[in-house]
Structure formats: structure tokens, C-alpha cells
Amino acid sequence: MSENTQRNAPKTTEKTTDTRGTGSKPAPVMAATGKHASTPAGTRAVVVAGNRIPFSRAGGPYANASNQDMLTAAIDGLVARTGIAGERLGAVAAGAVIKHSRDFNLTRESVLGSALDHATPAYDVQMACATGMETVSSISNKIRLGQIEAGIAGGVDSSSDAPIAVSEGLRRALLKLQRAKTTMQKIQAFKDIRPADLTPAVPSSGEPRTGLSMGEHQALTTQHWGITREAQDELAAASHQHLAAAYERGFFDDLVTPFKGLTKDNNMRPDSTVEKLGNLNPVFGKKLSGEATMTAGNSTPLTDGASAVLITTDEWASQRGLTPLAEVVDTESAAVDFVTGKEGLLMAPAYAVPRLLARHGLTLQDLDLVEIHEAFASTVLAIMKAWESPEFCKDRLGLDAPLGSIDRSKLNVNGSSLATGHPFAATGGRIVASTAKELAARAKAEGRPQTALISVCAAGGQGVAMLLRSA
């Protein structure tokens, strides 16, 4: 494969190929056979359409919906809107962060339940809150390599229908019992069970290695960067207002399919204001010495929901009369050492983005749209403050000058996770679909190509950044 690629690929000395210029490209009709010699190099991966179900606060209308139900609904809505029912796609990639062990083939099962051809392969991905971003990256890369022509990327999460496991002690005892051959061994296995082991284990958002919840981790970052309560509440209010405005002008009409009686994200509060948010009590960082500023209003709630994005070649889209919205240009992942407190848990995007921009010769100010996932309002603010800090940019990023500030009018223009809610794995698909649509609309209105940056932080100190360009 690598030999083949090298022989056929255009001569580029750089490790990273600029995928911008894509005038001539042969059309591999069925790129599945290993024998074909036509070069896939230069093939663009374009976002054609996206769909999600409205996001619901945990315990709401989706309380009894499983991950599989929701993912199937998101895929089916996308299939119906794009008219690709019965099509065999190259791959469907999706995942869930909170996942039952029986759902090992969650995505494949959802495909089997969907209107797609049953011969569509599928695989599960899990990268915490960046799961959706990673599926978009993975499907796009397959397309760009010529392995597939069309695929769906997405994700789903349910905090309501969370799996509950037996305790660690009971689990070990039961496994021991299963291995036991003699009656004596079986009795021995039972003997190990203690009354406390009968309490079930419920999944938590705590980091396994530190024992701190994500909110407590972010509280440390918030304090480190001196992010004020007012700044956080302003960002949260803007998120709700932007989302409400987008619904108002029908932006989500072809991005959202109603599900279980819900037509809009039920976490959205169109009348949200800084004053109202200012009345909430802090929930994170209360044990720290400084002022606690993080409230339920400027943190994302536990949410249920699913999203899906159709990514194809230009060829595949045009054959079906579909219009590409945006090209998936490139992705960069980063991770940080939060375990020993050297960096904040959710600060990895601060490292991923500069590397991604440098690879494409871009600056923060070159971007037309910036989407920074609002895990917490202070996450967005801390990342932006880090890019403005000469010390951080020099010491941590090795840059001569800070990356600078981001024009707030370009930031999260249609609202983000504080307003929509954040069903972990579904967030990447939500942002990619909305951003692709917004890019296409702006490119048409302004008559010039538009570039967007997406940044998503994730548990485990990880982050994924992505560049989209209007198609």
C-alpha cells in the first residue's frame, strides 16, 4: 500500500500534503478492490449533510431511549434527508462514551436497524468527548486514501440510560465462581463476597487516575487562568442566545430531526441573561482557596442525544445530486499531563490547534469561524487566554509570539454545548455538521472560500482540532 501510494502520489517533499488544490482527480468508481492502480491522492473528503436528534437533558424525554435507538434515529434522519436509503456505504463510524458492554457493536447494530444497505460495514470508536471528532477524522481519511467513497461519522450518548455494573468485589467473586470447578472452590468464591459488594457501581465523570471530577479539574484551570464568573456567564448567555437565534431563523431545519416528541434542544434557554446566570450558586471549585465561579449555568449538563454526518467524495455526492458543504481539511490530536497537575485536564486543544494551524500556514486571525466546544464556559475562556499569553505560547508551545485573540463575533456563532447540552460522543458530529452548513452559507454570501476551526477537549487530557473549508 505504502509503496503504491509513493509511486503514484504527486511529488511532494513535505510530509503534509496540501489538499487545497484539487482540480483533477480520477474517479475510482469502486475503490474497494486492492488491485486498482488509479491514484486516490488529492481526493477530497467533503461534508455533504448532517443530522442529529434534539439533545435532551438527562432524565427527560429520552430517559428510556437506548444509545442504539438514538444513533439509529440520527442515521435514519440523515439517510432520509439525503435520499440514500438502501445505499451501501464504505463505512459508518460512531461511538458512545458511556456504553454498555453488550453494545460492543453499537454502530453496526444501529446500521442494521437503519435504512442503509445491510452490507454497510461499521465500527465503534471511543475517545471520550472527542469521539465524534475522531470518527469524522477517520472517515475522512479513508475517503482521502481512496479506501471508501462515502461514509457516515457520528456518535451518541445517554446519561439517562447509563449502564449500572455490579461492584468490583462482586464482579471478581462471580468470575471466580465461574472458574471454580469443585464445590469447595465455589464455596470459596462466595466466601469472598462482602455485604458492601452488593451495592452497584454507577459510572461517574471522575478521572480514574486523579479521582477528581471533570468539573473539579476545570475549577483548577479556571483558577489558574483567573477566569471570572462574569466572563463565564457572558459566554453561557451568548451560547443560549446564539442557539435560539439559529433556531429562530430556521438554521437547524435541515440539521435536526425530531425525536420522541422533542423538536428543539430542551436545555436551551432563549431568555438566558448574565443577570439570571449570576444568581446561581457555584458547584465546582468550592474546596479551593480562591473564589468558586463555576455554576450549573456555565457548565454543560448531562445530556442524551445522537448525531451523524455524511462525508463523501465530490464524485459520489454529485452522482446523487448532493451538494458538498465543506471539505474536511485536516485533523490534529493532542494530549497533556494533567495527572501531576502540569497542565489542565481540558487544555489539550490549546496544543492541538497551533500545530494544526502551523501545518497549514494559518493564524488564528485567518479563520472565518471558530468553534470551541463549551465543556465549561471557562474551558473556552482558558484556552483563548492561553493563546493570548506570551508566556504560555513561548514556554508551552515554543512560539516566538502569542497566537493572539479570537474575534468573538466568529466564535460559536450558532451556540454551542452550554446551550445545546453535551451528549459526549454526539458533540463532534453536531459541531461538524453545523459548521459545514454555516461555512457553505457564508461562502455563498460573501463569494469567497471560508475556513473554520473546530476544537474539542476530552477526558483523559486529550483534545482534537479540525480544519474545515467551504467546499
Binding site: R194, A196, G211, E216, L220, K287, V339, G341
Partner: protein, 360 residues
């Protein structure tokens, strides 16, 4: 830290090496993981080793481990000058049982690593070696001629020299003695020292535990009458300033019982509130060595590097508790040189313990 902490401890001159006098007692101090009592640990060390002897006091009748001094009334008014027995207990053929070691590591959140890269042997976690050595130290502390009451004694500090890894199942010899009897503002302190030697005679691991017998104020043989002792100076330390936490531990009420089950340290002050109150505590407290082992497991000390770690205990951790921790590694992997872990109670801002690890 006293000067004695900086070097690997060695048996002082004039100490007599002996098998534990209570050849009858020792089996009671030892039991296998499956509660199979080792019948003759001292007399038949080789046979015991083949049965993977590991320490656990669970089958021992409590009375057995009480020293003579505790069973006699008026123990706080010991008359005459105190003197430690100049005796070292030697127990051969100790080995860490694989299943026990896995359990131990699970309880203290440690990740076992191979003895050497690519080796099929697992290195025994340094905190687990303490448990392997602990009963031998106990056998010295519970001698009839040991002058202080062992039950209710407080573990103040602990220093370990981890010279080389011991493999799970590998036979080592433990040599334990007490020394350095000294005055403390709250009573009398002494060091219990245990070394673990390999079959070639080299010391692989050595631990020095500082114990405080609270409320015992009496003359110490060979020492001037107590006035301003070294420990008195420690009282005037600066108020505790909590660092930014890097993590937290949620310690359930059963933490003491869990650690007792793997360490064999069934001191009632750790097991439950009623049993702790019976010994004058306000409630059950976590084992100091549990805190130390968990803290050690958090550090980035690389395998293969000989290191020393020492822990100082401040206020005890009352169970159940949520404690804050801060880990600071100086370098990673090949560049690692030292680590510092602080454990404290965030609610009342009280320090519990701090651990320092450094390359040897």
C-alpha cells in the same frame, strides 16, 4: 530527617541475631492468603516458602500479639530506665504470593511492573515489601523484654531504601530489630528496622519505621533526662499551606479493613469506629502505610531505578474521608530524579502525610 535516614540501615554492633524466640508464636503472625496457617515458619522455613508464606495476622488470637507490658496494669507508669532488647529477629524464606500481591496492588491502586524489561517475573511493589517485613518487626515489638506497649502505638514516619526489586515468589530473608529509643513531646519514640536480603546476602530493601508510644514519659537508658528533645522543635512548624490538588481519594469506611486484609495489620484503630474508640481514638483511621503506598503508586518513579522513599505522617485520616492529593514529579522516565506527594484534608485544611521519593 535524622542522619540515620540517609544510609541503608545495618544491624548495629552488639546485637544478637536470633530466630524469633516464640517459635510457637510466629506461625500465629503468619498465615497464607487462603488462611492456610503456616505451621512451622521458623523451624521449617523452606517448607513455608514453598507454601508462599505471606504475612497476615488474621488468624492470630489478639492476646498472642500483646506484649507482656500491655497485659500488666499501670503500663504508663513504667519505672526505671527503658532499654530496647539488643536482639535481631531473622526469618528466612519469606516470599510474596502472586495472588496476594495482586490483591495488595489493587487495594493501594498500584500498577505492578516486571522485575526487568521483558522479564516474566513481577517486581514486588515497595509498599508490599513493607507488609512482608512487617510481621518480623512485630515479632520484635512483641517480645517479652520489649519495654513499650505495642497496641495503640502510632506510626509517625517511615523511610525505605528500595535498592533492587524483589520478584514475586522470590525468597528473601528478613532481619528485624529496634533501635534509636528517644524522647518525643508526646511520649517515647523508637525505630523498628527491617532489612530484606536476597539469597546472595545483598540487601534488596530496608525499611525504618518510627513508632511513638503515646504518653510514655520516662527515662531512657544512656540518655540525659529529657529537656528540649529534637522532636520538640518540630512542633513550631509553619501553618499548613495547601498546594493546588492534582487529585483526590474517596476513602470509604471499609478502607482500613481492606488494607488490613492485605497487610495483616489488624490494629483495631483501623477497623471500625467502636474498636478504634476502645483504644482511645475518636474513630477509625486509615493505615499510615496505606496512605504511603497509595501516594507512592501515584509517583512516576521508573522501574529499575533504585530509590528511597520516606513518609511523614501528620494528622491521621479519619475514615470515611475525601482527601486531596498533590503529586509533583521531577522529570519523567529516564529523566526522573524525585517525586513529592502531599496528602491533606481539604475541608479543615489539615495535612495528613507527605511522601518524598528520590533516586538512590
Amino acid at each position: 530527617m535524622s542522619a540515620a535516614d540517609s544510609t541503608v540501615p545495618s544491624l548495629p554492633e552488639g546485637y544478637e541475631r536470633t530466630m524469633p524466640s516464640g517459635a510457637v508464636k510466629l506461625p500465629a503472625l503468619y498465615a497464607t492468603a487462603g488462611a492456610r496457617a503456616a505451621t512451622s515458619a521458623a523451624g521449617d522455613a523452606a517448607a513455608s516458602a514453598s507454601r508462599r508464606v505471606l504475612p497476615a495476622l488474621r488468624t492470630s488470637p489478639v492476646g498472642r500479639i500483646l506484649p507482656a507490658s500491655l497485659r500488666t496494669p499501670g503500663r504508663d507508669r513504667v519505672s526505671g530506665a527503658l532499654e530496647l532488647p539488643r536482639v535481631a529477629h531473622v526469618v528466612e524464606g519469606l516470599a510474596a504470593d502472586p495472588e496476594w500481591h495482586e490483591k495488595f496492588c489493587r487495594v493501594v491502586h498500584a500498577t505492578p511492573h516486571p522485575e526487568a524489561p521483558g522479564s516474566a517475573e513481577t517486581a514486588v511493589f515497595s509498599g508490599a515489601l513493607h507488609c512482608l517485613a512487617f510481621p518480623v518487626a512485630m515479632s520484635v515489638l512483641t517480645r517479652k523484654d520489649f519495654p513499650l506497649p505495642v497496641l495503640g502505638m502510632v506510626h509517625i514516619s517511615n523511610t525505605v531504601h528500595h535498592v533492587s526489586d524483589v520478584a514475586v515468589g522470590e525468597r528473601v530473608t528478613a532481619t528485624a530489630w529496634t533501635e534509636n529509643l528517644r524522647a518525643h513531646r508526646a511520649g517515647t519514640m523508637l525505630d523498628a528496622v527491617v532489612t530484606l536480603t536476597r539469597e546472595d546476602g545483598s540487601v534488596a530493601w530496608a525499611g525504618r519505621s518510627g513508632y511513638l508510644a503515646k504518653g510514655v514519659h520516662t527515662a531512657i537508658a544512656g540518655e540525659a533526662p529529657r529537656a528540649g528533645s529534637e522532636d520538640a522543635a518540630q512542633r513550631e512548624h509553619a501553618p499548613f499551606e495547601a498546594p493546588l490538588p492534582t487529585g483526590q481519594w474517596s476513602l470509604g469506611a471499609g478502607t482500613g479493613r481492606d488494607y488490613a486484609a492485605v497487610s495483616g495489620d489488624y490494629n483495631p484503630i483501623h477497623l471500625s469506629d467502636p474498636s478504634a474508640r476502645a483504644l482511645g481514638m475518636k474513630g477509625a483511621i486509615a493505615h499510615g502505610m496505606y496512605t504511603a503506598s497509595r501516594a507512592l503508586a501515584l509517583t512516576g518513579v521508573p522501574s529499575e531505578v533504585p530509590f528511597t522513599w520516606s513518609v511523614d505522617f501528620a494528622t491521621p485520616v479519619r475514615l470515611p474521608a475525601t482527601v486531596a492529593v498533590a503529586v509533583d514529579d521531577d522529570g519523567r522516565g529516564a529523566h526522573w530524579s524525585a517525586s513529592h506527594v502531599q496528602v491533606w484534608g481539604p475541608k479543615r485544611n489539615r495535612p495528613h502525610a507527605q511522601l518524598r521519593v528520590a533516586a538512590l
